[in-house]
């Protein structure tokens, strides 16, 4: 695993912003512009042939949306998480659906529920919600219920 990270660092200098380890899992925080290149390298050179999941997380205080890729090599059983922080004003990242077929629906889900744009995606439509739905429900400002939007939301730490 260490040589994989070293190879990325030498091939894409400055792409890895941070390496986080928690509970035996490793996360590479990658600059948004380089994430496609890093994931392509992981798939084609390092043999991470299985994309387990694409997810996202909204951090309103920091003003960013994280897109998270979980890649895995079925051969060596190594697993790695690649996370990229996108600015909330323009959450756009290149698609990886041409690298892994799985990413097609997973990215559509992230687009639908979190409002992240994936450039180059062949069919970026809403998947869970109807086409005419407004807003992206998994953003933290989206309310849990009612039509009085954006006012009902209370951050967890302010709840009684």
């Amino acid at each position: 695993m260490a040589d994989v990270i070293q190879a990325i660092q030498s091939k894409f200098p400055g792409a890895i912003l941070e390496i986080v380890e928690y509970q035996g899992e490793r996360t590479l925080v990658v600059r948004p512009g380089r994430v496609k290149a890093v994931l392509g390298h992981l798939k084609q050179i390092e043999g991470f042939n299985f994309l387990a999941d694409v997810s996202s997380a909204h951090w309103p205080e920091e003003g960013r949306i994280d897109v998270v890729y979980i890649v895995r090599s079925l051969k060596s059983r190594e697993q790695l998480r690649v996370r990229t922080p996108l600015p909330i004003e323009d959450p756009t990242v290149e698609t990886v659906s041409d690298l892994w077929g799985t990413a097609d629906w997973l990215e559509r889900e992230v687009y639908d529920l979190m409002g992240v744009q994936f450039t180059g995606h062949a069919d970026l439509r809403r998947i869970m919600l109807p086409e005419d739905f407004e807003g992206h429900p998994l953003r933290k400002e989206y309310p849990m219920e009612g039509d009085d939007e954006w006012r009902n939301y209370v951050p967890p730490e302010n709840r009684e």
């Binding site: 996360t27 077929g101 998947i127 869970m128």
Partner: protein, 404 residues
């Protein structure tokens, strides 16, 4: 349509679009597939999902972690045991909690019984979909017996909500081990009977062999997991690859197919049921009532809900009940984990991000039904209309889990 065709001399057919679902009985829920047909041949199939979207992830990010457990029952409602035990294990990984040895063994038994019951339902409906009605009654009778066991454990038959963060909802009643033992000792009978009815049946083979084929490379590319991946010949099972709950101690095999068609998926699931029985039998031998179900150190007691009978009689447990129910375990802020189990349908993953409070900042479920269904256009290309039903049934999707 056929009448019309017969009258025409050239017998050419127009390409027509057929809407299969969301109310079609053999789509296993509210799955809609838009088929483009040239006569009986499928030119393209586009699955349309989302009819059962309830926003479980959004709800989960607004409830305490203990409150999320009943919602996970409603994802893959055919194996709720795997869902809520899986979520509990993901939360335990996030907060760094160690469960006791007996809890591990009990969870293994619960999850393997869930796999058995889920596969029995698949067997029943798959056979029914291609016209073998008899199997349905055999398999459902057997499944009811597992539900009887679940009822003895949790009080509920269907949506059990039996998993709990740090343990299980309550200890098994006296003598349940013997009941499970008696059950699994005869469970293979129904599987053998269905095996005899189907495996060498000419009609069954004709309807399933070389139908819905996918290659191993394509299956990995499309992220298939569980029996559909193994039917392509890829030996991949999370219980072996990343053992959890002490699965490495049990002696069982991963059945793999060869051709990646409906028939191989059928064979893989049939063998998986037998392997599950083996695991349950081994786990029952390890079951030791002298080990406590919950850990006893003071730090751990702030995480799990204490047993109800003690809450009503002991002061300390009452206090713990109050603290855990109102506050519950705190998740570390900004820390993230991904934890996946081999659920009956495939890889059920949980991506959790801590918030510093008792609510998860992000709670994403990697639903195997959702990702397996994505491969449907590949499986159905060039197939006949009747094969659609067999192919969808052999993927075994559950829309509650797919749409969340």
């Amino acid at each position: 349509m056929t009448e019309m065709n017969r009258e025409r001399l050239d017998l050419n057919t127009d390409v027509i679009t057929v809407n299969m679902g969301p109310q079609h009985p053999s789509t296993h829920g509210v799955l809609r597939v838009v088929l483009k047909l040239d006569g009986e041949v499928v030119l393209s199939a586009v699955p349309d999902v989302g009819y059962l979207h309830r926003g479980i992830e959004k709800i989960a990010e607004n409830k305490t972690l203990h409150q999320v457990i009943p919602y996970t029952d409603r994802m893959d409602y055919l194996s709720p045991m795997s869902n809520n035990i899986g979520l509990a294990m993901a939360v335990e990984k996030l907060i760094g909690f160690q469960i006791t040895e007996r809890c591990r063994v009990m969870r293994v038994i619960c999850m393997e019984l869930a796999r058995l019951s889920s596969h029995l339902l698949w067997l029943a409906t798959d056979a029914l979909d291609v016209g073998a009605g008899t199997v349905y009654f055999y398999a459902f009778t057997e499944r009811e017996k597992i539900y009887d066991l679940f009822e003895r454990m949790s009080g509920a038959r269907f949506t059990v909500s039996y998993g709990r963060i740090g343990g299980l909802a309550r200890d098994w009643p006296e003598g349940l081990e013997r009941e499970i033992e008696t059950y699994v000792a005869q469970a293979h009978k129904t599987i053998d009977e269905c095996d005899k009815l189907l495996t060498r049946n000419k009609i069954w083979i004709d309807r399933n062999q070389d139908v819905g084929v996918i290659s191993a490379e394509k299956a990995i590319d499309m992220g298939l997991s569980g029996p559909p991946l193994r039917a392509c010949g890829v030996e991949w099972d999370l219980r072996k690859a990343y053992p959890y709950l002490g699965y490495e101690r049990y002696d069982f095999e991963i059945p793999v197919g060869e051709h990646g068609d409906c028939y191989d998926r059928y064979l893989v699931r049939m063998e998986e049921m037998r392997q599950s029985i083996r695991i349950v039998q081994q786990a029952l031998k390890e079951m030791d009532r002298s080990i406590p179900l919950f850990p006893e150190d003071p730090e751990s007691r702030k995480v799990f809900l204490p047993p109800k009978d003690r809450v009503l009689t002991k002061m300390e447990e009452l206090i713990h009940q109050f603290i855990v129910a109102t506050e519950g375990p705190k998740t570390p802020k900004g820390k993230e984990i991904y934890f996946a189990i081999e659920a009956p349908k495939g890889e059920l993953g949980f991506y959790l991000v801590g918030s510093g409070t008792n609510v998860a900042h992000r709670c994403h479920f990697r639903a195997p039904s959702y990702i397996n269904l994505q491969a449907l256009p590949i499986l159905l290309k060039g197939a006949m209309v009747a094969d659609c039903v067999a192919t969808i049934a052999s993927l075994d999707p559950v829309m509650g889990e797919c749409d969340r």
